[in-house]
Amino acid sequence: MEFKTHISVRNLNVFYGDQQALKDITIDIPDKGIIVIIGPSGCGKTTLLKSFNRLIDSTDGVRVSGEVLVDGENIFDPKVEVTRIRKKMGLLSQNPYPLPMSIYDNVAYGPRIHGQKNKKELGRIVEHYLRESGLWEEVKDRLRSPASRLSVGQQQRLCLARGLAVEPEIILADEPTSALDPKSSRHIEESFLRLKERYTTIVVTHILRQAKRLADYVIFLYLGELIEHGPAEEIFENPREEMTREYMKGIIS
């Protein structure tokens, strides 16, 4: 199968102090669709995800070598302006972290920091992306109330809307449903499926069933090494590596 490449990782090594979290990762990540990174906890999934938008920069004592090319541009190049790279990607973290402000201001935060001042336009953006994340109907009457009053599931959808509002090309999601109840998890998964035609969505998960529900393309990491990657049906139906097979069967976890 042929893919158009969106992000390509070249010989990426990440060290936290003496510990190597990622070992010589080289992979091309396809454009659009849902890419799922699976693997046991502590295997470097989150590190890989956070190296895409350089959030690992701010960790103390981190060292990175290799390249990550987004649309052909090496984002670890010291000349690159990091906020522009980050704006290309919306992040959903494990636990939703609404900013300490109202629902409206949370979604408007991104556009505002990038210079959007027009009130009408902001209102339009807020409504559009709250609809996109499936939250609009539930919050349209209380946009000015603090985001922290929403339920955890609603907060996660708010975070999705907040991320989408800066018009990224890529959605990075780090175990986005691990803090949510089943119903809210389904909401988030549905949003991803709805959005996958337009965004490259990269989801880290350790829930195999979720991976199967979502994935178009699968990356399997184990102890910082890239074991196997490929289109979902190939990896799930017919993995080439013994290790992948064992993980699927639940022998290693």
Binding site: N53, S58, R86, Y97, L99, I113
Partner: protein
Amino acid sequence: MDSKRLLKDRLAGRVMFVLTVLSGLLVFVMAIGLYQRSRPILAIKSLRELLFSTSWHPLKGEFGFLPFIMGSLWVTGVAVVIAIPLCLLTSVYLSEYASRYVREWTKPLIDLLAGIPSVIYGVWGVLVVVPLIKDHIAPLFGTFSSGYSILAGGIVLAIMVFPIIIHVSSEVFRSVPYELREASLSLGATKWQTVKYVVLRKAMPGVIAAVVLGLSRAFGETMAVLMVAGNVAKVPSSVLDPAYPLPALIANNYGEMLSVPLYDSALLLASLILLAVVLFFNVIARVVLIRVERSIQ
């Protein structure tokens, strides 16, 4: 054997409980004691007259506290105005920008400031700050000042409250979850935007608490201020004027001239006022804290 062990346990619990209650009650005991001793002057003069009269002539039996109250407010106010921006920027730098190496070296140095005896700040104020104001700052505004002034007291006090405010607010910033910063950064916000719109906002109640802690320390600080503020019993009209803050009044005069009728009672009333003002600050601050906390949720 076993019952003895349990008895000791219970006893230890009781003793510690009593000690805790006693230290908690201490402030009330002090307040009552001060009130008792200041009753003689309150029996003759109205509180209103004492608080708002500017005339301080103990020999004539006139005890107006306004110059001292204003002196305390001015000096504390100047200290806070100087301290807040410097402390906030320092603690933002330390918690958000500085590398671990810088942080580990700077923090102990700043905390060290808290351990310096206040008399040393006083001496330093007399040797450095007072001449600086006399020779450079006052001429800048075309006025004369002996240097012993509100500004001198404010500068010295500001430096004395640095470690408290910096320490507490750095802790507060550190308590802001890292993921909240990530959320803002991942939207393409710069570090400064993240600090301004997210971290400071989330940390605001704690920052206010930090400032209030510094403020109460500043308001009650005696020695260093006494040495540089000039101690003139007159309501000040500019920061280059000398002032005579309440703690300095009490420390300078209590134990002397007590043969003057009502003098002793007046000074203890001043102590009571000092205590009351500090408590008042604390209560106001807590009310503000609760409000702020509610509104940023």
